[in-house]
């Protein structure tokens, strides 16, 4: 290629020293003469413009010291009249030091000229070229309706590559007026012209803007200047061409920012509004299109705003004084008070999402200003909305730290004031709103729950794992409860319980249960539930109370209610008492003929297969399984004939058999037995194939034999189901389960430990949930990789889900080719949650009622079901089961890999017992699983019976 001089001045040789930056030192490459040259033909298209700076050595005219092509943006700088500094494309910093400033000026002029010509090019034309070059900036055409097509295309193209996105972000957030704001007027103009295509393009442009997930851009979007325009454009979604949303109307008209007390800080006011808009964007406008990164950018923006807002409120004494002052005014304005209660409830809800520390400060501050008085006031309010808000405050406070509330009650008690507990008990009895009522019942239970006491907030602040917490709780439980708590519970039984259970006691005078009102019925539901709770939690104190009030008899009465759900509650209560295996309760049940009534219920419901029948049989099963002699004696001595007449399950006859054995002096070595159908595995029985035949055939001798010999352990909880799996449990676990299971001799200990393993999948995975985008992203990447494996047909053209043909070909949305233009607009899979996982719930649902809380980390819906190694350590529980790709597709090797996680194949199998290793000690609402294996083991069989309640909170 010929060197064509285009600039005389630059072409003149200038004496210059060439420097290169090496190890932070300017290295002298030599001295020579500098010139500028254009190498491309004059008629070449501008994008092919090839202009260079050339330095020829002064010593050797054929030796070139430097030849560099001028690019649009290499950061050329002119310094001190004689220096030109820039960065080469390979990243090396270079400098030319001219002898004369005139020569420097000439070359500088040449460089500027070339750069000017380069950047004058239409960006749409050479974007693709530029994209290859990460250093090139991106410019979009000035926003005009006519150029929307171009802008949309350019943005889409740029969005596909990392550098392109960076370039776009840089351009869009450039300090001169943000590009977004220039787009805003176009929305209105396009609407005036009724140009739907333009509006659709604007919508796409806005989507692209948002999906760049740049927080600065998003901040701009929710600003006052931009928000209406942006959501305006987003009302015209090309995916719904016939439809226009009404976001602007909602934001402008329907939504209303209310201030009980004016917030003087403009910045905070702005943040409140921005937060609202962000939530609206996230939950409404963008709900369908959000991808993971953008979702988390939105969430973190919301989060940080909320932290600031809460901190502001909590630190602003004047504000708080005015707020709480509303409740002490001489001349109260009920509507403002109502607003204030709602406001406090709102802050409580927001505070759930922020760190425990800040939340704690907020509540401490509130309490100092008189939060409890506000709660007491609001609970008594005639306006149900206020009461609901009050219970919300109460609940979020208790979720946060029940001990604070308890402490407040202790203090009130010491000072001879009526504690909040009193208020709650009184109000529960008269409350008409069923929701408020059940909140109140929960609060009462929590207040007097000795299990939950003593966990100080300190623990939470130390950021301990749920595991550790659970352990602590376990330890605490073994200690005696504090004197304060004990006194408080005593107070409850002396002063509150009689009032609380008065409606129950008053039943004594009733002859019929048929005419109870809805309110009464709902109250009884709560009372019975609380009774079950107290029976377990306050074993001793509740007994005295129950005896003195003759409660069992009343419960028996409620068994006659025509309403099934009341009968069920009463049965649950009875079941709880029986589960305690407590002589006192058993005697009460006997003397009031309760067992007879339960038996009556069996007869009443017997031909039908219904819920009450199941629950009744469950009770008798339990008596049989646990071999509760006192009740067996009672039952058989009084109802022998009736028991024998029930043949459709063997439970009742077995009870009689037990009795006879005991009478004959035969005592099974331990109370446990394999229950119900149990050792079904004999070929003959299998041969029958019938469901009930197996039960009936259970002949007495065989039963007795098993009773005598089988002391596997006391595992068989609940239905006590047997064995199906246990046959496969012998050492080395044969991979194929035999069709016929023979009762196997099993090593007791080993089996126990296997059971343990099976019921607590992996201790490693039980640490508290940690939010880590990296992990989640990695997981989702892996998921994508895996899902593409199962692709039947590499779908080239990404389509939106709804456009698909009926027979699905590709695995999941995650597998769309990321390099195709649409992929930015189409949804990237959110790691959050396409499938469910129990662990997420247990991780701390209490603090996460808001679905919108900062994203949780577990990768779900992954086509590869197996958790990533990191995840196993960091995430509560393994990642989601195969919802994804082929939907738990058997093509993925997850089964095998699961097995590999465990040292022995056998540990995968669980013994056929239904023993629930539920955490008997964990008392928090949702924190059920993370009990260490050892703790479970230690808690022994007292906890078994509690399984029926599902929630750890009610366990004893």
């Amino acid at each position: 290629m010929m060197a064509v001089a285009t600039n005389g001045a630059a072409n003149e040789r200038k004496r210059v020293k060439v420097y290169e930056l090496r190890n932070n030192d300017w290295y002298d490459r030599g001295t020579g003469f500098c010139s500028g040259a254009v190498h491309s033909p004059a008629n070449a298209p501008p994008e092919n413009l090839d202009a260079r700076i050339i330095v020829i050595s002064e010593e050797d005219a054929v030796k070139s010291l430097l030849e560099t092509r001028i690019t649009k943006d290499d950061g050329y700088q002119k310094q001190q009249d004689t220096l030109i500094v820039w960065t080469e494309q390979n990243g090396v910093d270079m400098a030319l030091s001219f002898q004369e400033s005139e020569g420097c000026a000439n070359i500088w002029e040449f460089v500027s000229d070339i750069q000017g010509r380069l950047s004058a090019l239409a960006p749409g034309d050479d974007l693709d070229d530029d994209l290859l070059d990460p250093i090139h900036p991106i410019t979009l055409p000035d926003p005009e309706l006519g150029k929307l097509d171009e802008i949309e295309g350019a943005m889409r193209a740029a969005s596909t590559s990392g550098p392109g996105r960076e370039g776009l972000q840089k351009f869009l957030t450039s300090p001169e007026q943000p590009y977004v704001l220039k787009l805003i007027p176009l929305v209105e103009r396009a609407e005036q012209q009724q140009s739907l295509p333009d509006l659709h393009r604007l919508c796409n442009i806005m989507k692209s803007l948002i999906l760049l997930n740049d927080s600065a851009i998003i901040e701009t979007i929710v600003s006052d200047n931009a928000i209406m325009g942006v959501v305006g454009a987003l009302e015209y979604d090309p995916d719904f061409p016939t439809h226009k949303a009404n976001h602007r109307r909602f934001l402008a008209k329907a939504s209303r920012f209310k201030e009980v007390i004016r917030i003087e800080d403009d910045d905070i006011r702005r943040k409140i509004q921005y937060t609202y808009r962000l939530l609206y964007l996230k939950d409404v406008v963008l709900a369908r299109i959000l991808d993971d990164p953008t979702f988390s950018v939105l969430n973190s923006l919301i989060f940080f705003h909320q932290v600031d807002i809460i901190n502001f409120i909590q630190q602003n004494v004047a504000f708080l004084q005015e707020l709480f002052g509303l409740f002490s005014d001489e001349d109260p304005d009920p509507s403002r008070r109502k607003e204030a209660v709602l406001f406090i409830a709102n802050t409580g809800a927001v505070a759930k999402t922020i760190q425990a520390q800040s939340r704690n400060q907020l509540y401490q501050t509130y309490i100092r200003h008189g939060l409890f008085d506000v709660i007491a006031y609001a609970l008594r309010n005639h306006d149900v909305a206020v009461r609901v808000a009050a219970t919300e405050i109460l609940t979020s406070l208790m979720d946060h730290d029940a001990q604070v509330l308890r402490q407040h009650n202790f203090t009130a008690l010491k000072e001879k004031n009526a504690p909040l507990l009193d208020t709650l008990v009184d109000l529960l009895l008269v409350e008409v709103d069923l929701g408020v009522k059940s909140h109140m019942a929960d609060a009462i239970k929590l207040l007097v729950d000795p299990q939950n006491a003593n966990i100080s907030l300190e623990m939470m602040n130390r950021n301990v794992s749920a595991d550790f917490m659970a352990k602590q709780r376990g330890l605490v439980n073994q200690n005696a409860i504090s004197k304060e708590m004990d006194d408080f519970i005593q107070y409850f039984y002396d002063a509150c319980a009689p009032r609380l259970f008065k409606p129950l006691r008053d039943l004594e005078d009733r002859s019929t249960m048929g005419d109870l009102s809805v309110q009464q019925l709902s109250l009884f539901v709560h009372l019975l539930d609380m009774l079950s709770f107290f029976v377990r939690q306050h074993a001793y104190k509740s007994k005295l109370f129950i005896l003195s009030e003759n409660i069992h008899s009343r419960v028996g009465q409620l068994l006659q209610c025509p309403q099934g759900f009341i009968r069920l509650c009463a049965l649950k209560c009875i079941r709880t008492c029986i589960a305690l295996k407590d002589e006192f309760h058993n005697r009460q049940l006997e003397s009031h003929g309760i067992m007879g009534r339960v038996l009556n219920l069996v007869f009443e419901t017997m031909p039908r297969d219904n819920l009450i029948n199941s629950v009744c049989i469950d009770i008798f099963e339990h008596i049989k399984r646990e071999n509760i002699r006192q009740l067996i004696y009672h039952l058989v001595q009084n109802y022998r004939e009736r028991l024998m007449s029930i043949t459709y399950v063997n439970t009742f006859q077995t009870i009689v058999l037990r009795y006879d054995q005991m009478q004959a002096g035969y005592v099974p070595p331990n109370g446990n037995e394999e229950s119900f159908t149990t050792q079904e595995g004999t070929p003959q029985r299998l041969g029958n194939g019938g469901r009930f035949d197996g039960l009936r055939d259970q002949d007495a001798e065989e039963e007795a034999y098993f009773n005598g010999e089988d002391d596997i352990d006391v595992d068989d909880e609940d239905v006590g189901l047997p064995t199906q799996a246990s046959a496969g449990l012998t050492n080395g676990a044969a991979p194929v389960r035999p069709l016929v299971n023979y009762p196997a001799d099993e090593d007791e200990d080993e089996e126990d430990s296997m059971d343990m393993l099976a019921s607590s999948p992996d201790p490693l995975q039980k640490s508290g949930s940690i939010h880590s985008d990296n992990i989640a992203n990695a997981a989702s990447a892996e998921a994508e990789a895996a899902s593409s494996e199962s692709t039947v047909n590499g779908d080239e053209e990404p389509r939106r889900g709804r456009d698909r043909t009926p027979v699905a070909k590709d695995g999941s949305p995650g597998m769309r080719d990321p390099s195709t233009p649409d992929s930015v607009l189409s949804k990237r899979r959110r790691e959050e949650d396409d499938e469910d996982e129990l662990s997420k719930v247990m991780g701390g649902a209490g603090a996460k009622r808001r679905n919108s809380s900062v994203s949780s980390s577990v990768a779900i819906h992954s086509a590869n079901d197996q958790p990533l190694p990191q995840q196993q350590e960091l995430v509560d529980e393994p990642a989601e089961a195969g919802g994804g790709g082929g939907g738990g597709s058997p093509h993925t090797p997850n089964g095998q890999s699961q097995q590999q996680q465990l040292p022995h194949g056998q540990s995968l199998r669980r013994k056929g017992s239904l023993k629930t290793r539920n955490d008997g000690n964990s008392a928090t609402k949702f924190n059920i699983k993370p009990i260490p294996v050892t703790a479970v083991k230690a808690s022994g069989d007292e906890n078994e019976e509690n399984r029926g309640d599902g929630g750890g909170g009610e366990n004893g």
């Binding site: 439809h243 069923l434 819920l611 996460k848 919108s852 629930t916 599902g950």
Partner: protein
Amino acid sequence: MSDLDRAIEQLRACRPIPENQVRELCYKARELLIEEGNVVAVDAPVTICGDIHGQFHDLMELFRVGGDVPDTNYLFMGDFVDRGFYSLESFLLLLCLKVRYPDRITLIRGNHESRQITTVYGFYDECQRKYGSANVWRYCCEVFDFLALGALITGASTDMQPSDANIADINSQSQWPSEPSDIEIEILNQHNQITHRYPRHRPAPISQDLSQLSNTPSSPSQAPDQAPVRNGAPGTGASGHSRGSNNNKDGAVFCVHGGLSPLIDTIDKIRLLDRKQEVPHEGAMCDLLWSDPDEIDGWGLSPRGAGFLFGADIVKCFNYKNDLSLVCRAHQLVMEGFKEMFDSTIVTVWSAPNYCYRCGNVAAILELGEDGSNAGYMPRSNGDPNRSQGIVAPLGEREQALMKMGPGRRYRVFEAAPQDPRGMPAKKPVADYFL
């Protein structure tokens, strides 16, 4: 028009009913559900549906494709709520229909019908948003506790009932069996056009059947060496193998949300559970709602943290023991809407198209026809000790007894409903805000 019918009308329009009506409805529903066993007996014909997940408009599409209640007898296998934006309307509509037509619709419980799960996955928030309090959520959760855990379908025909459907692609028709009795599986699209038909295979050699019982992978793609003559449609196990002779027509279909439990070897054991409780984290009830089938032997730990994975051997043994021809479950997203596994001994049915409004999957419902030869009546098997007597065959026919002949299965596959402009999925926030 009764209040209930009015409520149904209103809910069909995707408008929530007032709180006091919800309370009434839930109250009635509870009294109704109390009378149901843990495993509900259902007679064919019945249309089985999987997860709905609050996708109200897709539920409407489901009714359009499958027929309306009470014309069609429905069985919904749980997960009515969460994820979608209309959990409330979807669940309440189903509940209204249940109360209005108790014998024509059966609802069983999914793992999302739980307090804990709904507080995290959206239903709680939705109620809170739509009513300003959690009361309605509470009422619904109380109903959840009463929902049955499973269903047992009897009287399903092994023959494909003739349908009036057209053939979607006329070219493929030639390969299809012409006699209805030869068809085991028929797949229709949402326009009521037949897209696939699969013939029933006649008994295969004994040895093969026995080997299947051990550990042969059942999915054709995993066993290329078996070179099935024809691959099933995505999701079907129709490539496969015989289910023995056709002289036993009474293999029942067990429906459950999640799957099997190591603690439940006979369906009768489910009957003894005290189901009225929050879904526990362990135990039989938990497993029924949380487990998944998987290509493993025996039982495996579930990555979900609840329930188990179970392999083909477990299913086959369970089916044999309980005289079942098929286990039908939901709980897992399948892109094709349904997926048969383990020689068609278990099927996953998924009825939430474009799940979460973005997964791009299609949905399916499964229709089981009525066995005409039995005059449409089958004695209730649940608790009937003699229902399955006589399935024990002489040794030579053992394999026939081991695997019941599956019912004729008609899958209707459908896509997400076209979006109703008014019903563009969205979660409107509360209008008034302090923070």
